[in-house]
Amino acid sequence: MAAIPALPRLLPSGDCAITVEYSRDIDDAANQRVLALDRALAAAPIEGVTEAVPTYRSLLVHYDPVQIDFDALGGRLLALAQLPAEAASRARRWRIPVAYGGEQGIDLEDVAKALGTTPDDIVARHVAGNYRVAMIGFTPGWSYLSGLDKSLHMPRRQNPRLMTPAGTISIGGVQAGVQCIAGPSGWHLLGCTAVRTYQLHRDPTFLLEPGDYVTFSPIDTSTYAEQLRAAEAGEIVAELVA
């Protein structure tokens, strides 16, 4: 894997956004730099910047070209990128309960077969992981986690499913995921959680921030059913560990 350059590349995304790119790969060091720049920008807002979207490898900075142009904003962002990265003071640690296998995780047995082990062993390896929210994207609350055990890396499905349930806990490629709303997915479904990373009219509406840490804990299906009812009533269900 290539080393992360000292300065990111500034790529035009039309006239209203700049892609600040640190890497072309899924790279933990690059993601840390992206999240550090995101924090630096939040701490020292630039007039004309409307929002920032961190991903594994880049920060997409949306702006109003009437207020600031590409060159001026690019210069400001490069200056921010050169500041020493501050520690992620807001990073929190969440424990998310998961009902693994069965109806909740229809791919668990197939994943175990493909990797030459048992479903219990897959669950144990998934639960042992200490994950970081690398980015949130695609649909509301869809949280992409880095930190998946290497032994669980496997290619995505050839044919993505057009519909997978809300709360799906899945793995795809080198990533783990917490899906919030029902939707298409090509990842392998290991289980379901009652935790909703996005829920309208709940405070907070969005539970996870990019940069937060996540661990999983297995629960049985009756606990899952109880938690679903609690989540529907507006409870967070996830446990804030630190």
Binding site: G14, T19, V53, H62, I136, I181, Y198
Partner: protein, 350 residues
């Protein structure tokens, strides 16, 4: 409070405003209007803020009935035949639907979307500051889905303001301008040249998430999978089949296909109005030109109130401003003298 009742309506019609930017970092699409200039023109005609929520009408016909009082509306964007009680109504003018009368709208003729603004706006509960419908995320108000026949919108009663028209610049049919990138280096010079010189058509499978393009196959240098990064309105991503998709306001906030170019913001509304099957070209411009065009477009939006004319008379914009500040409805010409016959088809903007 009067209601505007949806008597009939086609697909792809929904309440839209400026959308809900600000939560893309949580995966929430911004949604919002496809054609900002037309929404702003319709709103300004009825005295609303330019980006107030209005009805974005898809290509098919529709009909709306006023109930419980008169309702003032204005239509802008794609041209359509329109009438109230068999009297034809021009685009880019305000008109009042009397209690019990029905505004009937035909198919869009020279575009995809028309905007029906209602004086006083649409009553709804904003989510993240917006009434914009995003059917996939179940967001939007008063209905979190496209409009259907039978829906009722709570609206304000028509004031005794004079009806007016707006003079808009002619719509250009020049190529759609793009800025190359952010992943144009995933394509050879030949592939980029092919993209820029070819004739493209909008596929019929397009929607508010993305417009699929039909044309030559654009090949990637290193395959079609990239590590996901953020998307924009107008991002032109090229998936494995080499047929580009232009991302629209209900897009996923991140995507994993290389993006060869981005439609410039000043041309986005004009691009969104290209109907399925119609052909067009792209043209690459510099960042400096794209940003100069963005500033010009912002100036055009700001100038809309100056482009208002009283129906049949020169409009006194200062009197209007004074009256609005004083909280009185404007009546430069007695609204009672307005008659739908005053607008013939031939008077419609080009």
């Amino acid at each position: 409070m009067p209601k505007l009742v949806v008597t009939s309506i086609g697909p792809a019609s929904s309440v839209q405003d400026a959308g809900r930017p600000g939560a893309q970092r949580y995966g929430l699409p911004p949604s919002g209007v496809m054609d900002r200039l037309s929404l702003a023109a319709a709103n300004v005609l009825v005295g609303n803020a330019p980006m107030a929520a209005a009805i974005e009408l898809g290509p098919f016909g529709a009909a709306f009935t006023a109930r419980g009082g008169p309702v003032r509306v204005a239509l802008s964007g794609a041209q359509r035949n329109a009438d109230i009680a068999k009297h034809s109504v021009a685009s880019d003018t305000s008109v009042t639907i009397a209690d019990g009368e029905t505004l009937t709208l035909g198919f869009a003729r020279n575009g995809c979307f028309s905007y029906l603004a209602i004086e006083g706006g649409i009553v709804g509960e904003a989510v993240f500051g917006s009434l914009s419908v995003n059917a996939r995320a179940g967001l939007g108000s008063p209905y979190p889905r496209p409009l259907q026949a039978g829906d009722e919108l709570e609206v304000a009663a028509a004031s005794d303001m004079t009806e007016r028209r707006i003079e808009l610049p002619a719509v250009s049919d020049a190529p759609i301008r793009v800025v190359l990138g952010p992943q144009d280096d995933e394509f050879s010079d030949d592939a980029k040249a092919l993209f820029l010189r070819s004739e493209w058509k909008i596929s019929a499978t397009s929607d508010r998430m993305g417009y699929r393009l039909e044309g030559p196959v654009i090949r990637h240098l290193h395959g079609h999978n990239i590590v996901s990064d953020g998307t924009m309105n107008g991002s032109i991503q090229v998936p494995g089949n080499g047929q580009p998709i232009v991302l629209m306001p209900d897009r996923g906030t991140t995507g994993g296909y290389p993006k060869i170019a981005t439609v410039i913001s000043a041309d986005f509304g004009r691009f969104a109005q290209i109907s399925a099957g119609r052909s067009f070209h792209f043209k690459a411009v510099s960042m400096a030109e794209a940003q100069a065009e963005a500033r010009k477009f912002a100036g055009l939006l700001r100038s809309l109130p100056e482009r208002l004319r009283a129906d049949g008379a020169e409009f006194n914009i200062e009197a209007l401003a004074d009256a609005n500040v004083a909280g009185h409805a404007v009546s430069a010409v007695d609204a009672g003298t307005w008659h739908p016959f005053a607008h013939s088809e031939s008077e419609q903007a080009p």
